[in-house]
Symmetry: C2
Subunit: 475 residues, 2 copies
């Protein structure tokens, strides 16, 4: 918690986060006065200010600044900073902004910047480029680095192999703790930081791992193989990143070895990358439940509009389905106009109850807490909740409707219809996600459409159907 | 990836995760045959089997087993395992199940089990107990441990102080690397594992931190103060856990020092606890958007039903509001029954478009990517998307309605109403969350109610109102 007032002129050797941990306002956005200063410095080409106050920001802070300024300012800033621009910041911004910035950079500048990144960050930036640019950039990198990055890029998109770092520390099992410490002290070509040491045989097959605290606490003459632990949770490079993230969560891993098909160590996956995957996954579920695809705040009107059309189109179809259900009863509505006034309430309450159950079910499926062992119990519970709340709100709406239209019949009819629809909503809210999941579809994507269709159709059909039957009206 | 067939009789010294990494079926649920074996062993009081195959599971695996068996089996299992029951598993199950199990245990048994836990896990279990039981259990613990836990429990609920581990390694800045390594090798009373060494002054004030890899790579005579780094991101014990989690995410921290009001080191917060907080937070947003509060799968019908009533009650009110809007136009509906048939489609499409925009806005607010710097741009974008999709779907529904009812007027009326409602939906979807957030309310909780109210009311009013005016009908 540094206080800027104590230190009006930041000395040259001050640390980045210290100098500017206060670039944020209280609400978490970048402070407007700081952005104004940055904007002025860009306009004035004030390199001194930019190097001192922008180039030194933490990568995530620089990312926030890039997201908060205008596109032209972004391009100018990257140009002005030149080789002082920390490309790691590109891993912290929206894809649209990343591509926009990278597009403005020459392949030479990208190659120079990428050379200084950890391999996982480099892959993150390279994987979005088109093939030609990527080839060109890779060809400008030193041989060993090029090979490493190409190997990581060879793994499928969203696999552990794409997210891993290819730099790691590995030693043979027959070394002693003393030999290992001496190696760490003298070897120049080690990753900048590491939290585990892997143990491999001469063919690079993974045989175990060592936590650093165990190395520090053992005597020099102790053999590595006696203090290493077997790596039960090594991750195949082809494994999907979400699956890998689940392993991290389940077993509270901080880092895990990534191995190829032959069990050879090819990299290491660390928890900070996994946290991003967990975040993205939770965000995906939330957006999909809301009927939104992979869109970003930086997307244009046209691409946003396009990405939302499919969901709306499906809803238009189900809306026509509901309309045709209503049209079956047009004669009834014509005679009792109160039905038209009240029918959206029956459908709407069902829709809300259904979306409550569906939200719980989709989330429970995503966290694997809803499975065959408790499905029957949860279905029974939801049905019970549906009946209970159906009776409660059925009575409420029945009394209000009866008083409003001075007609006890309409009160009884709407109460019954509401009860039925709330039960249908509960069953649809749990069964539809379960069935979609069973057949391998993502329940977050499509559940809402089906649940709303069920509650609309059952709502209109029950309410208008019971009324038609009760009043003995024939169409 | 161990293969059970190679090793039919697990030797006694086999590691837990190895013996049973295959307790899971393909879909991630616990295998039914394993549960059947456990159930049989519980019924037969087969202690040998339970100790060998259940007591040794990883805490999260044991948690999954506890969640997958019947309540009576849970109680019997905990009783049978006695002191072999790893209480850490209780941190991996639903609150309802945790309380149910703890209720069945004697305070002596809980105290014995808690004594073996890390302080953060112990606090997690203790904080849910009633005061009397907690006092009793604490009084049975050794003095130093009791003091530690009581200090952590003194911090507010959901604060960093509650989630931190009070065990840590700290050394003075003037020590050398050699002294530090010797201390680590000889001192018995150190935490079982650690990933950072903290540097403190004689009054326990935090002056820095050391990553273990830096210690391993430095020569023995190097002074600690020359290789430590300043801890820019130390966390006040009173800080809310969500805020702490955001610091971890922003700065890719693996662990952070927790300090009291005087800057004295009181504990350490690690990323594995933070991952749980991130998960819970994302889950909360999703559930709240779906109109569900803090409910769990293990909750009963009555408590679930009760927790969902408030949201449904608010929706009932807005449903009556919409109904009164419709009732303004009953004369029109009576003359043109097509309006009753089509009006839910206008309201429903608006509701869906509004919920798309709202989902994006709520998520962007939660991740702090929507702020004053881009709010104006995003509002313009959403309005543009609303107009564009409004025209698209307005035309589509207009054509279909015109053909269906053989009436070009009704086609034009519904197209216009749909356009207006989609624009209203877009504006409501972004402005309502922004305003709620501005006034300190959680936009995830209440946005959906307001957005649906707007799209229903505007939808019905626009469609029926335009029709009334066009056909010149007076009520």
């Amino acid at each position: 918690m540094t206080d800027r007032d104590d230190d009006p002129v930041a000395p040259d050797d001050v640390k980045p986060a210290e100098a500017l941990s206060d670039i944020y306002a209280e609400d978490g956005s970048v402070r407007s006065d700081f952005l104004a200063m940055v904007g002025a410095a860009i306009a004035d080409r004030d390199l001194l200010f930019l190097r001192k106050n922008v180039a030194r920001l933490h990568e995530s802070e620089l990312g926030d600044v890039l997201e908060s300024i205008l596109p032209e300012q972004r391009h100018a800033l990257v140009r002005l900073l030149g080789s002082d621009f920390d490309m790691t910041a590109l891993t912290e911004v929206d894809e649209g902004i990343r591509l926009d910035i990278v597009d403005q950079m020459s392949n030479e500048q990208i190659a120079a910047g990428i050379g200084e990144l950890d391999s996982d960050d480099a892959v993150y930036i390279l994987e979005d480029l088109d093939d030609e640019d990527r080839e060109d950039i890779l060809s400008q990198l030193p041989f060993t680095e090029r090979v490493r990055l190409m190997r990581a890029l060879d793994y499928p998109e969203s696999s552990a192999g794409r997210r891993m770092q290819t730099e790691f520390v590995a030693v043979p099992p027959f070394w002693t703790v003393g030999q290992t410490i001496d190696y760490l002290r003298e070897e120049e070509e080690l990753p900048e930081s590491f939290s585990q040491i892997f143990v491999i045989d001469p063919t690079f097959k993974l045989v175990g791992a060592l936590d650093l605290d165990k190395v520090l606490r053992a005597k020099r003459q102790v053999k590595i193989e006696t203090i290493m632990h077997e790596t039960n949770h090594s991750i195949p490079a082809e494994m999907d990143q979400e699956e890998a993230a689940q392993l991290f969560e389940q077993y509270d891993l901080l880092s895990a070895a990534v191995v190829d098909n032959n069990g050879r160590l090819v990299g290491v996956l660390t928890i900070d990358d996994v946290v991003d995957v967990i975040q993205e996954e939770a965000e995906e579920d939330l957006l999909r439940l809301g009927g939104v695809g992979d869109e970003e705040l930086s997307d244009s009107i046209f691409s946003t509009s396009r990405s939302r059309v499919p969901w709306l189109a499906v809803n238009l179809l189900t809306a026509f389905l509901s309309a045709s259900v209503i049209s079956l009863f047009d004669a009834t509505i014509q005679q009792i106009i109160a039905l038209a006034i009240l029918m959206p309430a029956v459908a709407g309450m069902g829709g809300n109850a259904g979306s409550q159950t569906m939200t719980v079910s989709v989330r429970a499926l995503a966290t694997k807490s809803l499975d065959i062992h408790n499905a029957a119990r949860i279905i029974r519970r939801e049905a019970g909740v549906g009946i209970l709340n159906g009776m409660l709100f059925g009575c409420a709406i029945g009394i209000v409707a009866g008083v409003w239209f001075q007609d006890i019949h309409i009160g009884g009819i709407i109460a019954t219809a509401m009860c039925l629809n709330m039960l249908a909503a509960a069953l649809a809210g749990i069964l539809i996600p379960l069935v979609l999941d069973k057949f391998g579809a993502d329940p977050a994507v499509s559940s809402a459409v089906f649940v709303t269709a069920v509650t609309d159709i059952v709502g209109f059909f029950a309410f208008l159907g019971i009324a038609t039957w009760w009043y003995g009206i024939s169409g």
